[in-house]
């Protein structure tokens, strides 16, 4: 692992000198990816063309991760059984729980308070199901998709590993980020809530670029 990390630091230097070395490093990197995201997880990178691509991909990942770590995303992607609230990501008030189905405890479901749209009087946020504007979609991401407290490598795995991400292919992931009303809400949360600072369009562009460049993820040490 250390080797790879160091080698990557010198990639830029070798790049212009010898394509051979480059290919070697690329193979090394590929193996490495396979090793961490092994077949057990069901994930294989889409393609690895060369290390520049990898570098670029990791850059894109970091930009994507910035968004994913924003309170608007994390609050519903906790790594434990408590939804979070607010820009300070505090534990949801009143002991609100994940419940068995990520939709709250019995009699205290997410939709007990959160409707199909932001409530302008009570201030309670809400978002609709894609196919029914009157039905609330508010819920937590499954525990396996909890993003809280993860380093880049772990976060990347959560995104890509189909056993953890709700069996989403990279294309599904793009669709989730592009269309899910709960995701889109993060850009237009209303109230005093800070929206995700990067425009959605730009985020989608970055996300797609990340995936198209091989969906590389930094290693554990990053």
């Amino acid at each position: 692992m250390k080797l790879l990390l160091k080698s990557r630091n010198i990639i830029k230097q070798v790049y212009s000198i010898t394509p051979l070395v480059l290919v070697f490093v690329a193979v090394l990197a590929f193996n490495k990816v396979r090793k961490t995201n092994n077949s057990e997880s069901g994930y294989y990178p889409i393609a690895v063309k060369d290390t520049t691509e990898r570098e670029k991909s990791i850059q894109k990942f970091k930009e994507v991760a910035k968004v994913l770590r924003h309170p608007r995303c994390i609050n519903c992607h906790p790594s434990d059984n408590y939804p979070r609230q607010g820009d300070d990501m505090h534990k949801h008030l009143f002991n609100v729980q994940r419940g068995n189905d990520d939709r709250g405890a019995i009699g205290m479901k997410c939709i007990s308070c959160h409707g199909a749209s932001n409530n302008k009087y009570s201030g309670v946020p809400g978002a609709p199901e894609p196919d029914d504007p009157n039905k609330s979609r508010w819920h937590l991401a499954p525990l396996s998709m909890g993003w809280m407290g993860l380093n880049d490598a772990e976060l990347g795995e959560r995104l890509l590993n189909r056993e953890m991400n709700g069996n989403m292919s990279p294309e599904d992931l793009v669709k989730h980020m592009e269309e899910d009303p709960l995701v889109l809400w993060g850009w237009n949360p209303g109230g005093n809530r800070a929206p995700i600072p990067i425009p959605h369009e730009e985020f989608m562009k970055t996300l797609k670029e990340w995936i198209n460049t091989g969906a590389h993820v930094p290693e554990d040490e990053d």
Partner: protein, 743 residues
């Protein structure tokens, strides 16, 4: 079960109309108060008891039912002494009447844990007097000696078993002079009270939604109001942009109110507030209209005031050259402390608190020109009359104040500000108006339990025992706004040194200096009154002294108690809590002793706490000596309730100020404990010493904070002297604040 009426002696009756569908669209309001002359003639034997010739016995409840059980225990006392059949009595909420005044205050109000301790004897005498009048008529009619008769199940019964209903005698009975002296039943003859738990009469209606609170009142032709009040203490409204509000659906009137918070008296620190109200056809339309307005405020002279600057005033008062009022001086504490080489000093502070009853402030009023009628959830029926009389120039006799159920009182509802608003608006629009505050209005326009600071100093003798105690107390007034006179307290207010002036202990040398602070936020009584903060300081300090001496806190306290009742509750709580026996590893106990509202109580809290400050409360044991407990079921519930109240203030809730106004606005930032926190073993032991009956409702919260902090000290060696404990990162595991964010 007794029948309950929310109506009153003006012969209004409460009619419930439901299902008046009009074309499947809208229904009329479900609760209507209307005149009803169908009731048979009711004959008042006195202000508390009416009996019809067909033997319906009506008992009047003159104290507000706000959860403390007044509507059950007070009429039970009457029924017991009268010999009325509890199953058939009608229970009715009273209006105002001279007979309902609390003689200690010459005022009719509910609060200060007065209902039982003040009225037990009055009610028994009143009922006994009525009973004797009925017996006298029967005795005359049956040609027997009155003493040979008894009253039972609403009948007068003679020795042969012959009986006739009360109703047969009532018409003649009222012509008699009430007896000058009556013999009261012995406690052993009580059937409804005295260690008997009655099912509360208000419970069935409170579990099926039919109980009528102030917010539920409907009067024919009633309009609804929402109000915006200047949130800055001493500020004013600069500008109101109407934004087309007058064209909005349901709009009736926009009313500027020069004053929204009038009180009895006008102490110099009381900042009157301006407001603007919208009156509309429905509450929701009123709210929408109000939200449409753009209101800007001038912050006024207190714009620089915040929690920190206020706290500094307290500190400066404690440490500066303050002109103290000498509340207690016994021996020469000051000299002893000055001369001593071994002293101990500690400063305590309890934060500001809001009442935050679950039912926001509201009232319904009809201003009729020369009379006023009000329907309100109020603890201060007579105070409301006095305020309204003063503000509208109408004599108190022409002001009817109907009392509904109260969705919590805790002292807040002694005030009449919200009642005044309803009357003012009704006068403006010429129709009945119900005004309803939002939670935000309620929290930002409270008359708060003020922050209170106490400094304790003691000098210790060679044995490590205190020989002198010098206390400084700094607090705003808590009584100024509820006294019924334009009287400004100077020196020591009568209520804020409670619990620190007269204590369960005796020290030869003791000095109490107090200082009444005048600062902008309005302050008033709050469940536990002055005792709450002062007992926290005193009982924490007693614990500090005990640990300093290296002595068991109960043994230490017993050195200084002056009353057998203190010893009684200490022994009872020690036994019930297992104070002297083995307990689980990591579990620790803390104790506090109080003498408040003529009741002695000692409480032990068993906790464990981890290094991160996560607190688990395992058991709370309370021993209560209120003389005689009349209804242990209701009294236990009251202690349970007090525990929640006390723990909430000790742990999480507080009011802060910023830029001259209140910061907290709802339950997201004024944090109160929830159900998960009460998976606690609660045990309450009543020590029936037989002494004069004391109050329970206000006594419950008082020992909680010091017992908890003493337990935390026992567990961690850390002494916390500022409340709430969240300031020190002490939380229960259910608190939203504690979880490591971990992102």
């Amino acid at each position: 079960m007794a029948e309950i009426r929310i109506d009153n002696v003006s012969r209004r009756s409460f009619i419930k109309t439901m299902g008046l569908a009009t074309g499947g669209l809208l229904l009329q309001g479900s609760y209507v108060f209307a005149s009803d002359d169908k009731n048979p003639q009711q004959i008042s034997l006195n202000a508390f008891i009416r009996i019809t010739p067909d033997n319906k016995v009506t008992l009047i409840v003159h104290q507000a039912e706000m959860g403390q059980g007044a509507q059950t225990t007070l009429p039970a006392i009457l029924a017991d002494e009268l010999g009325a059949n509890w199953d058939t009595v009608i229970i009715e909420n009273g209006l105002t009447d001279p007979a309902f005044k609390n003689p200690k205050f010459n005022l009719q109000f509910t609060g200060n844990a007065e209902s039982i301790r003040t009225f037990h004897d009055i009610l028994r005498n009143t009922a006994a007097s009525a009973r004797e009048m009925l017996k006298q008529v029967a005795a005359k009619r049956w040609q027997v000696d009155s003493d040979s008769l008894r009253a039972e199940n609403s009948y007068i019964v003679n020795q042969n078993g012959k009986k006739a209903p009360f109703g047969d005698f009532v018409e003649e009975a009222i012509k008699l002079e009430p007896p000058k002296e009556v013999t009261l039943k012995k406690p052993s003859e009580w059937k409804l009270t005295g260690n008997k738990s009655l099912p509360r009469v208000d419970v069935p209606a409170k579990v099926n939604g039919s109980a009528v609170f102030g917010i539920d009142v409907e009067i024919p032709k009633m309009l609804h109001a929402a109000i915006a009040m200047c949130p800055y203490f001493g500020g004013s409204i600069r500008e109101i942009k109407e934004n087309g509000v007058r064209q909005m659906s349901g709009f009736v009137a926009l009313v500027r109110m020069p004053v929204v918070n009038p009180i009895f008296s006008n102490p110099p620190e009381h900042n009157k507030r301006e407001g603007v109200a919208i009156v509309a056809d429905t509450y929701w339309n009123a709210r929408k209209c109000l939200d449409t307005l753009e209101i800007s405020y001038d912050k006024g002279p207190n714009a620089g005031m915040d929690s920190e600057s206020l706290r500094k005033i307290y500190e400066d008062t404690i440490n500066g050259s303050t002109k103290w009022f000498e509340s207690v001086k016994e021996g020469d504490a000051e000299a002893k402390i000055k001369d001593s080489k071994n002293t101990i000093k500690a400063e305590y502070y309890s934060a500001w608190q809001s009442h935050a009853p679950m039912e926001p402030m509201n009232a319904t009023a009809h201003f009729k020109g020369d009379t006023i009628e009000v329907w309100a959830p109020t603890q201060g029926q007579e105070m409301a009359q006095i305020v309204l009389a003063k503000e509208f120039g109408i004599p108190v006799e022409k002001i009817i104040v109907n009392r509904t159920y109260l969705g919590g009182g805790f002292g807040r509802r002694l005030l009449a500000d919200y009642i005044y608003q309803a009357v003012f608006l009704s006068k403006e629009v010429g129709l009945p108006v119900k005004v309803l505050w939002t939670r935000e209005d309620d929290m930002q326009h409270d008359f708060y339990r003020p922050g209170t600071m106490q400094e304790f100093q003691a000098s210790l003798n060679d044995e490590g025992l205190p020989e002198a105690i010098y206390t400084k107390l700094v607090s705003p007034s808590i009584l100024q706004v509820v006294v019924n006179a334009d009287y400004v307290f100077e020196g020591e207010g009568p209520s804020y040194p409670e619990g620190i002036k007269e204590t369960p202990y005796h020290f030869e040398n003791r000095l109490l200096h107090s200082y009444l602070l005048r600062i902008p936020p309005p302050s008033s009584v709050w469940r536990s009154t002055g005792f709450g903060t002062n007992v926290f300081a005193l009982e924490s300090f007693m614990d500090e002294l005990a640990y300093k001496k290296g002595e068991d806190p109960i043994t230490f306290r017993k050195r200084y108690i002056t009353d057998e009742r203190s010893r009684g509750v200490l022994d009872a709580v020690a036994k019930a809590s297992g104070w002297y026996t083995e307990r689980k590893d990591g579990h620790f106990l803390g104790i506090a002793l109080t003498h408040s509202f003529e009741t002695f109580a000692a409480q032990v809290i068993e906790i464990s706490i981890d290094d991160a400050g996560i607190l688990d409360i395992h058991k709370i044991t309370t021993a209560v000596d209120c003389g005689t407990v009349l209804d242990p079921g209701i009294a236990s519930a009251s202690i349970e309730s007090g525990i929640v109240w006390g723990l909430t203030a000790a742990l999480t809730s507080e009011i802060n100020f910023k830029e001259g106004r209140t910061v907290e606005s709802n339950f997201h930032d004024f944090k109160i404990l929830g159900l998960p926190e009460f998976d606690i073993d609660i045990e309450t032991v009543f020590v029936n010493s037989g002494a004069k009956i004391g109050g329970v409702a206000e006594s419950g919260p008082i020992p909680v904070a010091p017992a908890l902090c003493n337990a935390i000290f026992a567990a961690s060696g850390k002494r916390y002297r500022t409340l709430p404990l969240k300031k020190h990162n002490i939380y229960t595991r259910y608190a939203s604040d504690y979880v490591v964010r971990n992102n």
